[in-house]
């Protein structure tokens, strides 16, 4: 109930914020360009049904921090956090509501990119199952990046610092996929890869396969990040 109230406020905020539309615009233009690129590159052959999710898997490193940086940091700076923490609701529901709001916004944006698939269907018969798997993957993947963003937003009062730190963190998580190129021991490389965001997307969802362990990974990341963010919000009571 309280989660729902916070969720609704966040969604209303995104819906009324020019900044949110600007980010959606940027995401759509970039994915649109890459989509066109793929069309041109694979003319007379078979286009990758996961091209847009694949592009988003990198874009989210940049956009997730921008979407989440204000979530808690702003409340802290404006002092509304004090009021939120005196409301008769568990601290977790505030964080969860905010997270779900951001995730919902993200869902709408990637939902819009599904329109591109309609365009694709007009010139070929894409493997829609493959596309759906990739979208499920990128949806969870996006949720995980947003949860990382919300943690950093909860850790600092400064939005820019929050955005920068979460960008760095996400970039490292993204990059860890390439661990094998620098780590010569394959087991170590695989462990590092298993910790990366890409490692649970590029070799499964992106090729049309939904693995339960990858879903557990992303949901686990979300769970841990939200738990930590809740604790960070709660820590405002202790100082």
């Amino acid at each position: 109930m309280s989660t729902w109230v916070v969720f609704r406020r966040e969604v209303a905020h995104y819906a009324g914020s020019p900044f949110a539309y600007l980010i959606a615009f940027a995401i759509l233009v970039l994915t649109g360009l890459l989509f066109r690129e793929e069309l041109v590159a694979t003319e007379t052959t078979i286009p990758n049904p996961a091209v847009i999710p694949n592009a988003l898997s990198f874009f989210m490193v940049v956009f997730a921090p921008l979407l989440t940086m204000r979530l808690v940091a702003e409340e802290k700076r404006e002092g509304t956090l004090e009021l939120l923490l005196t409301a008769p609701v568990p601290d977790g529901s505030i964080v969860i509501g905010k997270f779900l709001g951001a995730w919902f916004y993200y869902t709408i944006v990637i939902g819009i990119t599904l329109l591109y698939q309609i365009a694709l269907s007009s010139v070929t018969a894409p493997d829609l199952g493959h596309t759906i798997a990739a979208y499920i993957g990128i949806w969870l993947y996006g949720g995980a990046t947003l949860s990382v963003g919300i943690l950093f937003s909860a850790l600092t009062e400064n939005q820019i610092v929050a955005a920068f730190l979460s960008m760095v963190a996400l970039f490292l998580l993204w990059l860890a996929d390439l661990a094998g190129q620098v780590i010569s021991n394959i087991d170590a490389a695989r462990v590092v890869r298993a910790l990366s965001l890409q490692g649970h997307y590029s070799t499964s969802f992106a090729v049309g396969l939904v693995r339960m362990e990858d879903m557990v990974f992303f949901l686990g990341i979300i769970l841990i990040m939200i738990y930590l963010a809740t604790r960070a919000v709660e820590s405002n009571r202790w100082r």
Partner: protein, 542 residues
């Protein structure tokens, strides 16, 4: 009294909390160090029972601890976070082990086809899939593993997969014959779980992992059960000769396909009145330099009556009586029994001739049989050098016999019968009275359905030499197609290529591309931007 009970309850709660943490932590440690085992489950269950008991006994303490309201805020947070991460990691590892996947691709790319399942069902001895991937190929390994683990699951453990880093275990890699990153091999396992190195088959990987693996497994299944003998003693090309003129490449290829290849001296056999061994699936004559004697023909005739297979590679010989001499006993026997014979004529082709009209390309194929698979002259032509014309009696009286042509020369070709001149001066001239008019047959087959005996006759042996096979793809395919049929390998491992519908190729007009570009790069983003601007404008006015 009441107080004593309360104290006991609290103490018991603390005791169970310790058991809970201890159990979960040791389960995680065991799992990470020792892999999955019943011990891990036991520790996990003990841990969970401890936690639940703690929670049931002193719910307030438990809640206070979990929500971090207990004594020291920071420490408790770290502890509960570690606990949460531990539980998630453990759940992740357990689920990763269970390998629960959903293949959403319409082509069902990550699900085994019935063909593969049939092949797996025939596995009756443990097989190991040995993958050699370095850290650089970790991503590739992950993708391949999605396929390999399907085999492990479907075979109920009969097929297991094991990965090695070739840089970590170079000796083992060498033993398997690893030459580059991301190679995969199949081998049987001994009863004690060690690898049986006597049969190691490489899996030839394309981007269709399932069909590659299933093919490799079915080859391994027949490996050692099919033996092909190479005739020796008549000056044939040697299967162990790795020079340009040798045929070691095709020999190695046959071995990699799971065939056993052995030499056999027909001359000695005939002299002793012996027979071709019982296990012979096929017998290869790779350009003997003399024709067969009556005794030798009798040996072959007996072998063929048992349902044998013959691969005959016969070249033009310029200055001596050739193998399968026209009018010779063996050639006549073949003509009568199978409707196949060699002619004493060299094929001269003015259309397909490469450097000379003697070095020719098969101009056309007859594609009524499987032999023609992948042998379209336009894409995979077969290159012959001084080929011998052969002849097929398509209207042979024996109704048990089916036979047919496979490759012919062009219309602008003929068979030069003056071989002495050709050999000595390297000149040729059409003599319409003696020469054979084209087009001429270069490869043909025959089958006796009564005893399942098979013959494949090719009027050239150079095509199978190392120098040619290595350079001309079609040559290898011709040999493989013929050998798969003759050796019965095809009967064992044949299955329709994995029905991959990898997708429909995309075709569009310029107009369509422009429309799509307008739609995705301009229309949709701009619509979003306008919606944003409208809302912003409305807000500003308030």
């Amino acid at each position: 009294m009441q107080k004593t009970i309360t104290l006991t309850r609290g103490g018991l709660g603390a005791f169970f909390s310790l058991i809970g943490f201890g159990g979960i932590v040791s389960a995680a440690v065991l799992l990470i160090w020792g892999g999955f085992s019943t011990l891990v489950i036991a520790a996990l269950i003990v841990g969970l029972i401890g936690m639940i008991a703690w929670w049931r006994l002193v719910p307030d303490d438990f809640r206070a601890f979990i929500s971090g309201r207990s004594v020291r805020y920071g420490t408790a947070t770290i502890f509960t976070t570690v606990l949460l991460v531990g539980i998630i990691v453990m759940g992740y590892l357990l689920i990763a082990r269970a390998a629960v996947t959903w293949d959403l691709t319409i082509s069902q790319r990550f699900s085994l086809t019935q063909t593969s399942l049939n092949v797996i069902q025939r596995v009756n001895r443990p097989i190991q899939i040995s993958g050699f991937y370095t850290a650089r190929a970790a991503g590739l390994r992950e993708i391949d593993d999605q396929y390999w683990r399907l085999y492990e699951t479907a075979s109920d453990g009969m097929i297991r997969r094991q990965y090695y880093d070739p840089e970590e275990v170079p000796a083992l890699a060498q033993q398997f014959g690893v030459t580059e990153d991301a190679q995969v091999f199949l081998s049987y396992l001994n009863d004690d779980g060690t690898i049986d190195y006597s049969l190691v088959a490489r899996v030839f990987l394309t981007d269709q992992q399932e069909s590659d693996m299933t093919l490799a497994i079915s080859r391994l299944l027949v490996a050692g059960t099919l033996t092909v003998y190479f005739s020796t003693g008549f000056g044939e090309r040697s299967p162990t000769d790795d020079t340009q003129e040798g045929i070691s490449f095709i020999n190695n290829g046959m071995r990699e396909s799971g065939l056993v290849t052995l030499p056999l001296d027909i001359g000695a056999l005939a002299a002793q009145g012996g027979d071709i061994p019982e296990d012979a699936s096929a017998l290869v004559f790779a350009r003997p330099l003399r024709d067969l004697t009556s005794d030798e023909v009798a040996v072959i005739a007996r072998y063929m009556d048992r349902g044998g297979s013959l691969l005959l590679l016969s070249d033009v010989l310029f200055n001596r009586i050739p193998f399968m001499d026209q009018g010779g006993e063996f050639n006549n026997w073949l003509w009568q029994n199978y409707g196949l014979r060699a002619l004493n004529a060299a094929v001269i082709d003015f259309v397909t001739g490469q450097t000379t009209p003697l070095e020719i390309i098969g101009a056309a194929i007859y594609d009524e049989t499987d032999f023609s698979e992948n042998l379209d002259p336009a894409t995979n032509p077969v290159l012959f050098r001084i080929a011998r014309a052969i002849d097929v009696n398509l209207s042979i009286e024996n109704t048990d016999i089916s036979n047919g042509r496979l490759i012919r020369s062009s219309e602008q070709s003929y068979g030069e019968t003056d071989l002495t001149t050709l050999g000595e001066t390297n000149t040729y001239e059409i003599d319409e009275t003696t020469d054979v008019p084209g087009p001429l047959i270069l490869a043909a087959w025959a089958w006796n359905q009564r005893n399942d005996s098979r013959v494949f006759l090719i009027g050239d042996s150079d095509f199978a030499s190392n120098g040619q096979v290595a350079n001309v793809v079609g040559n290898g395919i011709l040999f493989t197609n013929a050998m798969n049929w003759l050796s019965h390998l095809q009967d064992e491992v044949e299955f329709g290529a994995q029905g991959f519908s990898t997708g429909v190729p995309m075709f569009y007009s310029r107009d369509q591309l422009d429309t799509i570009t307008f739609f995705v790069v301009f229309l949709i983003p701009t619509a979003v931007l306008i919606a944003g601007a409208a809302i912003w404008a409305r807000r500003v006015r308030r």
